[in-house]
Structure formats: C-alpha cells, structure tokens
Subunit: 354 residues, 2 copies
C-alpha cells in the first residue's frame, strides 16, 4: 500500500511530507520533502496558537491549512515524480494549535485536550484520497497525554534483539523513545525531554544554521543551572512538554542561544542517563542538522550518538513517515498509541477518517 | 439499523437526542429527549462562540462537550428504556462554535469555514459506538455553505406527489425547505429565512414561554420596517444566517420581544411568498411551541400552517433525527448534502468517522 504522511511540527516552519510503500513487514520511503509556510501563514499560526484570538480566525486557519497540506502533498509528489493517483491513503497530523495532555479544571470537570489544524475533509476532497487525521484525540479521549506518538514508529524501525537503543527526535520540542534490547512494544518508554529547536530558533531566527551562533556565544552557566532546576526534567514519565513551556515568559529570562543549545543537550542527557544500559542514541529531526548541538550531545552522552540516516531513515522525514504508518494501522483497524508512553488506559485506534 | 442522532442548536439550550430505527424505506423514532446544559457550560460556550478567547478554552470546550454529548445519549437511553448497546451508530452534529459559509479573505486566500465542537473520539470511546460527526465540514470543503443540512431529511419525510410543501424549522435561526410537488431531491431549495428564537430568547431569557411577553408587548413598527430593510431577507438562495448577525450589535437597536416575534414571522413570510404554489407549511423546532408566534404565522402566511407533530414527527426531535439519518447515509457511503440548498459543487459524503 502506498501511503503519504504529513506533519507540521512545533517549530511552525512548514509541512513535512513523506510517501512510503508499506506492508506488514517493510516501510520503504518513496518520496520526501518539505514545503515551507509563507510568512503570513506562519504568523497567523503563531497568532492563534496559545494566544487570545477571535474564534473565527481559529476556524479559518483550520480550513486554510487543509488547503495547504493538500497542496504540499501534490507539490512533493510532482517534485519527486510520484503519481498522486498512486497514493492510496493519507495520514495527516496537521499543525498543533494547542496541546494540554495533563487535565485541568474546566467548567467544574477535569479536562485534557488537544487541537490540531489542517481540515481532513479538505485534504481528502482536494486529493481524492481517503485521509486519516487528528491522531492525538483518541489517545487523549482514552486518558492518555496524546503524545508522544513516535514510539510506535521507533519501535518498528529500531528495535534490536541485543542492543538497548534510544531514538531521539529533536523538533521544536525534543523527545526520546527508550527501546530495551529485545523489548516487546509494551516495554517501550517515551517522553519529551524538554526544549528542542524552538528556543534556539526564537533566539536566532529563523534558525541557527549549523549552530554557528551557539558555538561563538558564551554559555551563561548560572542561568543554565537555574533553568535545569525545573522539576519537569526529573519528573518520571509519562510526561509531555508544550510550546507554552518555552514561550515568551521563558525567553524573558534573558537566555542566549549558546545557553539554549546547552540546555537542550543537558536535558537530553538527564533523560538518557536514566537508562544506563543504552548502547546507541539515534538522532532525527531538525536538531540533527545542528553540528554544534550534535557535538555537545556526543560530548555529553555516554552511548554512541548516530543519526537515523545512518540506519536508513531520512533525518527530516521521520515524523512524516510516522503518520503514514499510523494511518496504515488505523486503516487496518489496529491501535497506534503506546500506552506506556502516553499514559492511556488502553491501546486505541488513532485518527478520524474521511 | 438503530441510530442515535444528537445536536445542540444555536440557542445553546442543551443537547437534543433522538434514537431511530431505520432502513432504506422507513425512519421510526424510538426515543427522544433533551438534556439541558448547566449554566456554567452554556456560559463557556457563549464566551467562546464568536468572541475573542484563549485557544486553550476552545480546545478544552471541544473535549468537555464530547463528554456531555456521550452522557446525554446515555441519559436519554436510560430515561426511555432503550438499551445503549442496541444503538449501532451515532451521528453527532455537536455545538456550532463558528460558522462562516461565505468565504472571506484570510492570509491572502478566500476561506469559508465552520467549527462544531463535541469531540467525536470522546463520544465513541465513552459509548463504545462508532460515531460520525462534523457533518458541515465536507460540504464547506466542496464549496458549499455547510448549511442548511435539514433539506435532506425534509425531502425524505415530507415530499408529496401532488402537494407543494415547505418545511419550516424555527431554532435559534429559522430555515425553510421548499419541496415542490413530485420533486426530485435536486429540485429542493432551502435557506435560512432570518432570526428564529435567538433574538426572542435574548430579550426574554431563557425564553418567552408561549409567547406571553411578546403578546402583551407593543410592536415597534418603525423599527420593524427598518430591520426588514436588511438585504439578506430578499437575497436569492443559497444563503445562511449566523449567530453573529443577531448578536449584541443587533440587540443594541433597542428591539423588544414583540417586535422580534414579528420580525421572525415577517422574514418567514418574505421567504414563503417566493413560492406561491405552496399548500402547507410544516413547522418544527422550538418556535413551534410559541403559540403567539404560531398565531402570527397563521395570520401572515397564505398556505396552511401545521406542526410536524401532525405529520408524525416530534417538533423537538427533528434536527436530532436529521443527524441520525445523515450518519446512516454516510455509513452506507452515500452523500447527505443537497447541493441546491448549500451551494456545494457536488453531493458529497458528510461527516468524519471514528
């Protein structure tokens, strides 16, 4: 089955698209690419996400993003010489607008919630392809935090009979999947370690290419020690971090990009050290392109640090591949969440279908 | 097949539930009821709908309403002695939070949009029943206004080989379905006529029981004539009216409940007069309980005015029945919109499935 996967991550750069051919055994990447958001769209997303806004802009943004996701798939297919009509199923994560995995009091009840945009009905109608979307909602409905979802793919791609491995994805937020040697899927542990690129991006917009600015700056050790005291980093999983933890209030601490890079590396280190039997840390996501950050990780972490590309999975395509794989599982009527990672009461089928 | 339908209308009173047994021929009501919103929930909906708000409250409200819709179905089933496990499918309209059927400029594109809340994944998981929801989105994605959807049901229920009929539903907004004698489904015309109960409700909260206040008040003829000049009322269909047309700004005109009742009757009259061959106007929705409004309609309209109850369809259950019927059609893979009513480019399957 040929399946397309799409996501726009927390760094709100653009839409990542992957097309894979897959069956019960293999996941074969066919095409991959990223379509950046125009500046006005990125601004509209940031204006709506986690801010006070008119609900009309919320609704409009959902339908606009549906168009843009459909166009992104068509563009990547054309660019890669893949016939759109050969794609049989789409899995679209959309753009996270709000995520609150831990329930809060609301109208006298405790409510957890999540909101992703990129209207699935629009994607399906523009492409003529069945679309599965809103993957986090069913996990939240089942008492989970709705994240992380990547452990399902990490387990399928990287499990090893004799080597304990950690898959590290450095997007806007960084997260790890701990896969013990010879693990079954319910032995996988996964959680957000803390900031990924979003703090560094905000301090060196649009992003600190190769970590040049971080490398030439000066580390503010005192501030770093202060920030590392955040109890989040030592809290036992399951746990998820959101954009809101690293928003304007966080940036107002006076943090610089060198200290932000070090905070990213150190919070990853704190997480990895909980699993001393780990032999390899397999890095993917935009942060894997930051050579300074990779250097700091290699200096800080005890296990060998490799990129997912060295294991045959494009660094930038992994999250998009995830939603192709999750759509395939849902289409087959099978669950896609890992309850030990999200905290859900049970494994459930993910995604709405149109 | 036993199917439940649910909706909370624009008057934001509570959740209407209907359970029907249906097949290709018949639609047999089995149970029906309304579960009112608690005051704090109603306030939260009104605070989010068409206002400036934090997107977190938007996301939380969607998940909270999912719980309340599931609970409403369970309550009505218990009350009516219907075993929840006998229900095979749920169609849930949810609560409209925002609706903009006419495209507006947004980020350099023209975008139409709609937003209904009551998370379908929550309804499905709490009840254990497949749920179809977000019925308006696919029609909007197909270039339609996402409303009205009721013509599909009106046509199925009320078409007559020799009598031209109009089905009139008076909810928060009032809408009519024009069904020519012996019509095929693509000859049906439907649109919102203008205000329904929402203006009267706002002026005599929570609502003007039996129209007692309207009956004893004085009609402001000058204001009425002024309000009737709104070009909306004479605009050719397809057209839809939203809460925002009759919100705070509208109420600030100094309108009283007697004038609001007359405005409702007169705007319905303007619409009905476009179809002089009509023999009967079949009234449903909350407004059919307002004996003063019914009296004004009988005085104003040329065709015979009857309630849907006189034709075997509970006045308050019609819209909930609609979403049961639309879910059934979607489950069978068949379209549920009437393009001549919504303006969609084509008939499309409605609703997302979980």
């Amino acid at each position: 089955m040929r399946v397309a996967g799409m996501i726009s991550g927390t760094s709100v750069d653009g839409i990542d698209v992957a097309v894979v051919d897959m069956d019960e055994e293999r996941i074969q990447p066919v095409a991959q690419g990223m379509v950046p958001y125009a500046a006005n769209v990125r601004n509209a997303i940031l204006a709506v996400s986690n801010r006070v806004t008119h609900v009309g802009d919320v609704a409009r943004l959902n339908f606009l993003l549906g168009e843009l996701f459909a166009e992104a798939l068509m563009a990547v297919c054309e660019r890669s010489g893949v016939n759109l009509r050969s794609v049989e199923l789409i899995g679209s994560h959309g753009q996270t607008i709000f995520h609150e995995g831990d329930p809060v009091e609301f109208c006298g009840r405790t409510v957890a919630s999540t909101l992703q945009f990129g209207e699935g009905c629009v994607i399906a109608q523009r492409t003529g392809i069945r679309t599965i979307f809103d993957f986090r909602n069913a996990d939240v409905a089942a008492g989970g935090k709705g994240a992380p979802l990547v452990p399902f793919l990490d387990y399928r791609l990287f499990r090893h009979p004799e080597r304990a491995r950690i898959a590290l994805n450095i997007g806007g937020i960084a997260n790890i999947t701990v896969i013990p040697a010879g693990a079954t899927s319910d032995q996988v542990i996964a959680f957000d370690t803390g900031p990924g690129n979003m703090v560094m991006d905000a301090l060196a917009p649009p992003f600190d290419r190769d970590g040049v600015k971080a490398r030439t700056g000066t580390l503010n050790e005192r501030l770093l020690e202060e920030l590392l005291k955040d109890p989040y980093y030592r809290k036992a999983p399951p746990k998820t971090a959101g954009r809101e933890q690293y928003g304007e209030e966080f940036l107002s601490s006076g943090i610089d990009v060198t200290t932000a890079a070090e905070l990213t590396a150190r919070t990853i280190q704190i997480a990895v050290e909980q699993y001393p039997e780990t032999r390899e840390v397999i890095v993917s996501g935009g942060g894997a392109h930051n050579s300074y950050l990779m250097e700091r990780l290699r200096a800080t972490l005890k296990p060998e640090v490799v990129t997912s590309a060295e294991l045959g999975v494009n660094i930038d395509a992994k999250e998009a591949i995830l939603f192709a794989v999750l759509a395939y599982e849902s289409f087959r009527g099978r669950p896609g969440n890992v309850p030990s990672a999200t905290g859900a009461r049970e494994a459930v089928v993910l995604g709405k279908s149109y």
